[in-house]
């Protein structure tokens, strides 16, 4: 047997796809050919590499997601009942399922079909509103996961929840409120820091700006203080200078933080020279 032939058979050999005769022929070739033999050996060695196991938290996070999802289905059903009618247009109502789970399944199905065949739906005249509503529902699912994780007992789970908020493009007020609550009250410095970082992407919302100013006022950790100072200076909120001065008036303030306050005021054009006058 030549090497060329051996190479052709090697993948099948590796996948146990050769009959015994072909197999022993190939192994005979290996006996006399170091190059082919080593290729087969590399495959064997590869199979001996072990891998680490996932952390047990992975299972817990999955549970949180599934619960949030199921809870979301229930909530949607309640909302539909209290709002009196449904948002389903007349041409659909005939076969729109009554069970919330199926309703949601239909929605997601429509979303996917709709993305592919949007022009068809447009032709039916009801597409735009319907599609944006359906997109909204999928979007809410991500928010629910973020919210549910931010309420967990363990700090690492809450951290995950904060990180999930990055996957939400346009958060509703509930997610923003949860992030702000976290940055103000979470007992873990890591989680508060992460929440401050996450809120940066939502700094165009007035409620977020207001919340960040308040958070700085009650913050005791130098790390989080610095993160909040940087954030308020970067977004150039009009209340930033006031909040920084107020913080600077605290005599127990750590030196590094005080320095940051002064730098921040400089950047805002409110340095010592300009505001001492």
């Amino acid at each position: 047997m030549k090497c060329e032939q051996a190479r052709e058979q090697l993948p099948d050999y590796l996948a146990d796809g050769l009959d015994p005769e072909e197999r022993s022929e190939l192994e005979e070739h290996f006996a006399g050919c170091a190059s082919c033999r080593e290729e087969a050996a590399a495959w064997t060695r590869l199979g001996e590499l072990t891998a680490e196991e996932p952390s047990p938290a992975l299972r817990a996070r999955f549970e949180a997601m599934l619960e949030a999802y199921e809870e979301g289905l229930g909530r949607r059903a309640r909302e539909q009942r209290t709002s009196g009618g449904s948002a389903v247009p007349g041409w659909l109502r005939g076969w729109w399922p009554q069970r919330p789970a199926l309703q949601f399944a239909c929605s997601v199905g429509f979303l996917i079909v709709g993305l592919g065949a949007g022009h068809l739906l447009t032709a039916r005249g009801a597409a735009d509103g319907q599609l944006s509503q359906l997109r909204e529902e999928v979007h809410n699912m991500r928010e629910m996961v973020a919210l549910s994780l931010m309420q967990q007992q363990s700090a690492s789970e809450r951290l995950r929840g904060v990180n999930w908020s990055y996957r939400v493009d346009r958060p509703d007020s509930e997610v923003l409120a949860a992030l702000l609550r976290t940055v103000k009250y979470d007992p873990s410095v890591d989680v508060r820091l992460a929440a401050a970082d996450a809120l940066r992407q939502f700094s165009q919302y007035p409620a977020v700006r207001q919340g960040l100013v308040e958070a700085l006022g009650r913050q005791k950790s130098p790390l989080v203080q610095i993160a909040l100072i940087d954030l308020l200076v970067d977004i150039r909120d009009r209340r930033a200078a006031g909040a920084l001065r107020q913080l600077g008036a605290d005599t127990s303030l750590e030196y590094v933080v005080r320095e940051r306050v002064e730098q921040g005021l400089e950047k805002l054009g409110m340095g010592e020279k300009s505001w001492a006058r």
């Binding site: 190479r7 090697l10 993948p11 099948d12 590796l14 996948a15 170091a34 190059s35 080593e38 290729e39 590399a42 495959w43 060695r45 590869l46 199979g47 001996e48 590499l49 072990t50 891998a51 680490e52 196991e53 996932p54 952390s55 938290a57 992975l58 299972r59 996070r61 999955f62 549970e63 997601m65 599934l66 999802y69 199921e70 289905l73 069970r99 789970a101 199926l102 949601f104 399944a105 997601v108 199905g109 996917i112 999928v138 699912m141 991500r142 996961v145 990180n163």
Partner: protein, 191 residues
Amino acid sequence: MNGTPSVDSPNDEVLMLAVENGDARKLAVLFDRHHRVLFHFYLRLTGDRDASEDLVQDVFFRMLKYRQTYRPGMDFATWMYRIARNARTDYFRKRSREVALEEGWDAAGDADAAPGRGLEARQEAAMLRRALAKLPEEKREVLVLSRFQNLRYEQIGELLGCDVGAVKVRVYRALRELREIYSQISGRKAS
């Protein structure tokens, strides 16, 4: 393999259809069967534990979100790995950062430091990991899929959009390149 159901439990395909029909709880069974295998898939590709855990979470999230794309008769593993590959593409596009693979792989090598394995075997394993990490991404993936994830060549072909013959060629080329890199690292001459 991990995904093999026992006699009295329904197979993956049946479970996924149930999820699709509104029984979201059944996804937990699929999670129990596949999350480790998926985690290993990502860990071997990226060497990044945290990213791998996030990605596993994202795969199951996407299974809910896109469950209507699962059709009766589809091979569940192939469908799952298709989602897994998309999730990884999106994840690293979003981060738009290069993962420091080599460091990651060295860290991932800790599992080989288990007592009872000889020093030489551990060093060999570490070198092999480094060689794997140096392999171009497509080649690393085809090796991971065929060697570790136990996918058949037909499944890999469906996943990568090529026929079985092409998969075999890819596997062979990847293995050959791996051996060459390994020889360089270990200081042995590649013949």
